[in-house]
């Protein structure tokens, strides 16, 4: 049986979700997206630049088989996030939204109070809500209670590349959640993505780690492989950690004994 995962009415095979920000150019972004094997791609909603007519549209560079996940990035209140989500749905014609309500410009940590408030409203309006949240198990529970289709705790601050800073909290969130848990933000390199999946995350979402790499296309391929490896290691079941050695070769039958 294929190893798939589902969110709302959507089912995916790839466990890597990618972004569209900060790429050096659209052709590089497109090649990176194809190399990543990702099926879901995030986009932001912004005011149209009325002076720049005929500008190349982002959408023309996103492979057609990919599902759009509009975000509410840079919204600092529940109200702004709700309006942005509605506009994103109108633009993308889909029900998915990556819900962000930011509480602090320096760390981009979520305002979890506003997040839960916005989630409640959007769930009622029929959105499939994927909230970007802190690595806090209690907030995760509140979001699930609000009807979110997934929980997306951060590994580290957005764009920081610091990796998975609190694997224990992520494990606690995953243990308690009955909706998919995706690690969103903080990934810096392939091993970080592998760790997220090894911990039991259903998938991992990243933008900067790929877009900002010296070779975004090669990094996208590395992330694809890391996510596959991490998932397989999770399913295979790792050995327990021990303080002392446990020999792999027989200790008896040695010559000269």
């Amino acid at each position: 049986m294929a190893d798939t995962w589902s969110i709302g009415k959507h089912t995916f095979t790839s466990r890597l979700l990618v972004g569209t920000g900060k790429f050096p150019d659209f052709p590089t972004m497109q090649r990176a997206h194809l190399a990543s094997g990702a099926e879901v791609v995030t986009v932001a909603v912004r005011r149209l630049d009325l002076a720049a007519k005929g500008e190349a549209s982002l959408l023309e560079w996103i492979p057609k088989h990919m599902t759009l996940l509009p975000n509410t990035a840079a919204c600092f209140t529940a109200g702004e996030a709700i309006r942005t989500a509605r506009l994103g749905r109108e633009l993308g014609m889909g029900d998915l939204v990556k819900l962000e309500v930011i509480g602090d410009p320096r760390t981009l940590f979520p305002d979890v109070v506003g997040l839960v408030e916005a989630a409640r409203v959007l769930v009622k309006e029929g959105f499939t809500v994927l909230p970007y949240t802190n690595d806090d198990p209690v907030t995760a529970r509140r979001l699930e209670d609000a009807g979110c289709a997934a929980i997306m705790p951060l590994g580290a601050p957005i764009g920081s590349g610091l990796g998975i800073r609190n694997p224990y909290n992520l494990r606690i969130i995953m243990e308690a959640a009955s909706v998919p848990v995706l690690v969103d933000a903080g990934v810096g390199t392939a091993s970080d993505a592998a760790i997220a999946l090894e911990l039991g995350a259903v998938a991992v979402l990243m933008n900067s780690a790929i877009a900002g790499a010296r070779d975004p296309v090669m990094m996208a391929a590395a992330m694809r492989d890391a996510v596959t490896a991490g998932r397989q290691a999770f399913l295979a079941g790792r050995i327990p950690m021990k303080l002392h050695a446990a020999a792999s070769s027989p200790m008896s039958g040695l010559i000269g004994s």
Binding site: V45, R46, R47, L50, L58, E90, L205
Partner: protein, 68 residues
């Protein structure tokens, strides 16, 4: 006759009697690429022809851009 509206945050004079549909034509914007909000409520594509703009309206025209 002209009316004053706020378009993407900026005060702007528009000809009176525009609908969302004719506003997009007036601005040279392709309807397939944008979403429209008037006074904090989304105007869906099926209402572009019927939705008349009035003085003092606050209009947002948005599109998808790169983001994570």
């Amino acid at each position: 006759m002209a009316i004053q509206v706020r378009l993407n945050g900026e005060l702007r004079e528009l000809p009176d009697g525009l609908t969302v549909e004719t506003l997009l034509t007036h601005l040279g914007v392709k309807a397939t690429r944008v979403a429209v909000e008037v006074n904090e409520t989304v105007v869906t594509k099926d209402r572009y022809v019927a939705h008349r703009l009035g003085a003092g309206d606050s209009i947002e025209l948005v599109a998808f851009v790169g983001g994570g």
